[in-house]
């Protein structure tokens, strides 16, 4: 118990002096250099970060004096070909800006994560996946070319044919092989700016898995919200959403308007989000979908980014901060593995209303990319004295099934457990030996999980 408590208190201790934090609001001492000019600012830098939307410590410095570059102002479009949809941008170009500029032209990112407040560089470093993973794979599958600054300060370009090992390692490599300076990738054409969505209320976890399986061949985009608090017969009930871009003739003539900007202006108290309020929310959310099944035309914003509607929604967890536990359980572990995982999760408690389930397609080319064929489950949790215990316990289960966790979300996994779930780590470390033998590039996460020096 004492070791558990001390881990949490170190994580929570706010150091005197400037600090940086990511989306989970657990700060680390350090500062970031915000500049438009990556070609100079990344010289001798040890880490690049985008908009700081990763939940854990992958964008945070290992040491307060580490040179960390924020890329978000390096945000120029360097070229776009409307014939092919090929777009080249500086690493700090944000997905929100991409959507705003290119949706009216009939283009959309080939893959989008659950928030638009990310940079393209970050999308490569995390090799993000989205609702269309079962069809389109990760973002990295659509990247054609990268310009990267290596640890020795040289600048190189790589692609599936040029330095392919560096290319594969950089995709999903959490920025640890080099600073991503420029990215070229292919946008997808969309027939309209509206999404045709079918949603269904699902009574339990087993029906959920079979629902996702039936939807996958029919729909290019699927995902589900599940209730991670209800136990027993209704465990894992939720709402399954499937969608596709609406054809031009189905869509309204109007372009979808962005909703009003709502900001959570201050930190809410820690106690506000508790098991009771979370259960009430889940009950309401589940039964709000009163019809068993319905089809609607929806705007892309609430479909892809429901939480972006409220800026700074992370403040709802209070100053204690929060984390997200996201793992993927391989298909070969069987469907029972998912319900067993849900049983363990609901028994451990600590889950918040935000819990998302998604079937993943084949593993991509990124050496450390998260998705593998199977079921991904993501659940937000407020940081509590129990958090280390909960993460250890869930990790033990994930290791048994042969699954893995998502580095972009992780803050609490222990190095020994990470090694057990990541047989690809040796290959990644071999790439680091080749491109950064001195281990100059590092993050708080790489110290915690990869054994880099602090």
């Amino acid at each position: 118990m004492s070791s558990r408590a001390s881990t949490v208190s170190t994580a929570l201790a706010v150091a005197p002096g400037p600090s940086l934090s990511a989306w989970g609001m657990l700060p680390m001492p350090g500062t970031e250099i915000i500049t438009e000019d990556l070609s100079h600012s990344t010289l001798d830098a040890v880490l690049s970060r985008g908009l700081g939307r990763s939940y854990g410590d992958s964008s945070l410095p290992a040491r307060a004096t580490d040179r960390v570059v924020a890329t978000r102002h390096a945000n120029r479009i360097l070229g776009f070909d409307p014939e092919t949809g090929i777009l080249r941008v500086e690493a700090g170009f944000a997905l929100a800006e991409l959507n705003r500029l290119f949706m009216p032209l009939g283009f959309f990112s080939p893959v989008t994560p659950g928030t638009k407040f990310v940079t393209v560089g970050g999308m490569v470093a995390s090799d993000v996946h989205g609702k269309n993973h079962h069809r389109e794979g990760c973002f990295g599958a659509h990247v054609r070319w990268l310009k990267v600054r290596l640890a020795d300060n040289s600048v190189v370009t790589c692609s599936p044919t040029e330095l392919p090992d560096l290319f594969d390692g950089t995709i999903g490599g959490m920025g640890l092989l080099g600073h991503i300076l420029e990215v070229e990738f292919t946008l997808h054409r969309i027939p309209s700016q509206w999404v045709y969505m079918e949603s269904e209320r699902v009574p339990d976890i087993d029906s959920f898995i079979s629902g996702l399986n039936t939807a996958a061949p029919k729909w290019p985009m699927t995902m589900g919200w599940i209730d991670c608090l209800t136990r027993g017969r209704s465990m894992g009930r939720g709402v399954l959403m499937a969608g596709r871009w609406a054809e031009a003739h189905e869509a309204p003539a109007t372009t979808p308007r962005l909703g009003p900007k709502i900001t959570l202006p201050f930190m809410l108290p820690n106690w506000l989000l508790n098991p009771l309020t979370a259960s009430l929310f889940n009950f309401a959310y589940y039964w709000r979908h009163f019809q068993k099944k319905k089809t609607t035309l929806v705007k892309p914003e609430p479909f892809f980014y429901p939480l972006d509607a409220i800026l700074h929604w992370n403040r709802a967890y209070g100053a204690r901060g929060f984390t997200q536990y996201q793992c993927v359980l391989p298909r070969r572990a069987g469907e029972k593995a998912v319900s067993a995982f849900m049983e363990r999760l609901t028994a451990l408690g600590g889950a918040s209303p935000l819990c998302v389930i998604k079937d993943c397609g084949e593993e991509g080319r990124g050496v450390l990319s998260f998705p593998m064929e199977g079921t991904s489950i993501a659940v937000d949790m407020a940081v509590s004295p129990d958090i280390q215990h909960i993460v250890d316990n869930l990790n033990a289960f994930v290791i048994e099934t042969g699954g893995r966790i998502y580095l972009t979300k992780d803050r609490f996994t222990r190095a020994d457990q990470f090694r057990k779930m990541e047989p690809r780590l040796d290959r990644f470390m071999a790439l680091r030996d080749k491109y950064d033998p001195q281990r100059r590039l590092r993050s708080a996460q790489s110290v915690r999980l990869f054994g880099d020096r602090a």
Binding site: I34, E36, S41, H73, L78, P82
Partner: protein, 246 residues
Amino acid sequence: MKAVILGGTNGIGRAIARHLAERGDAVFLLGRDADELERSAADLKARHPKQRPAGTALCDLEAPEGFAAALDAADAGLDRFDTVIVTAAMFATQDRLEADIAFTQRLLTVNFANTVVFCEHVKKRLLARGGGRLAVFSSVAGDRGRKPVALYGASKAGLSAYLEALDHKHHADKLAVLCVKPGFVKTGMTAGLKPPPFAGEPEGVARDVVRALDRRKPMLYTPSMWQLVMAVIKRLPRFVMRKIGF
């Protein structure tokens, strides 16, 4: 609006160029790095493929002999500009400047003497065509002599005084002169410094500047909170200014 932006490849200048292009105004970029100019022009072209592509020309505030040629190029590219915006300047911390007097001389020359000379070139052209708009970035640092910005602030104080007089002198000639006084804004210029409270983002400052240009205002504090902050600082008695580090 047909706007020339000196410093339009970076920071607030870049944000202003985008903001103007987005609403359909024609822009022409001046800067001292050909590669940067090309990349920024490509950015504007990709954002607004249907508009006339932004022209570019080299112009370095350290080389006043090139000002006239750069403005000629802008005139040709825009078919006579009616608005000029100057965001380019040098910045360094007081420590850095005190340690290097030669560098101090460069900064004072660029931020004051050469910027004024550039404005004189612009003024002549705009007056000859019946007026126009000139927006120049000074700084809140010029509002009061302060310890951490003694040298940089002095260069901006001189510039603010010049811009104010220019407005007095030529307001009746339909030349609208806007003195922009930004507070701390997170750009490459301030990279590495710890942002104070109320630090601005380039996009917000750009919006404020374009609105002030539209309304032909003579002065703008942005983010607006700095107007209040400076009002207090300007009233602090000398014995307080000697004590505090701000």
